[in-house]
Symmetry: C2
DNA sequence: TTACATTTGACAATTAGTGACAAGTCAATA
DNA sequence: TATTGACTTGTCACTAATTGTCAAATGTAA
């Protein structure tokens, strides 16, 4: 099945819990407009905010972090025909560190 | 075998061709100090510069681009215990686009 | 020593990212 | 159809990160 991105994930979980954007915003101490943008992928959350969101939305922090990091990689590679080769190469390099 | 990073690659190729930093710098229209930093990984080349370097050093542009992009991913994930999961997730997401 | 290649550190310039605010849309309902 | 509440959008200011230059330092070979 198709994988969710970060924004989709936190929106789904927020709606499941019946939280309003303004409540999430308050918990993260940011403006409502900003969390709205984060959910729609117009802005990126900061790493610290990922932890707060995981706690608030009761999802495993690491799982959410994977999605958040993966967003960055998808951003970097989505227009790249070389994407697959890049990932293979990166994997190899990270492995033999 | 261990994979080369971007800086190591261009340094090796430059030396193989017997070029001086100042010659490479001139070709890219940047300061010698900057190409020195790029080779040592202290600075990142810009995408446009990767193309120029590939031509100058007579290496396949795509191959060099893979290494350059992969540098960015390694930077992002090298301190991440979740690296492998992130790569798998990214691969999947890029695949079903 | 001189000459040349490369590296380093400090700084300036440029670019990208972050967040707030105010105004806007949209839907439900009084 | 006016009001309300949730969310979205555009713009701006501020900050942080990146990119590049310059001058000085280091290394090295003749």
């Amino acid at each position: 099945m198709k994988q969710e991105n970060f924004g989709e994930t936190i929106r789904r979980l927020r709606e499941k819990k019946g939280l309003l954007l303004r409540q999430v915003a308050a918990a993260l101490e940011i403006d409502t407009a900003l969390i709205s943008k984060i959910e729609r992928g117009e802005r990126k959350a900061q790493k610290e905010q990922v932890g707060k969101l995981a706690e608030l939305l009761e999802i495993n922090t690491e799982e959410l972090m994977v999605t958040w990091l993966s967003d960055k990689i998808v951003d970097l590679l989505e227009e790249e025909p070389l994407a697959h080769k890049v990932l293979k190469n990166s994997e190899k390099r990270l492995k033999d560190k």
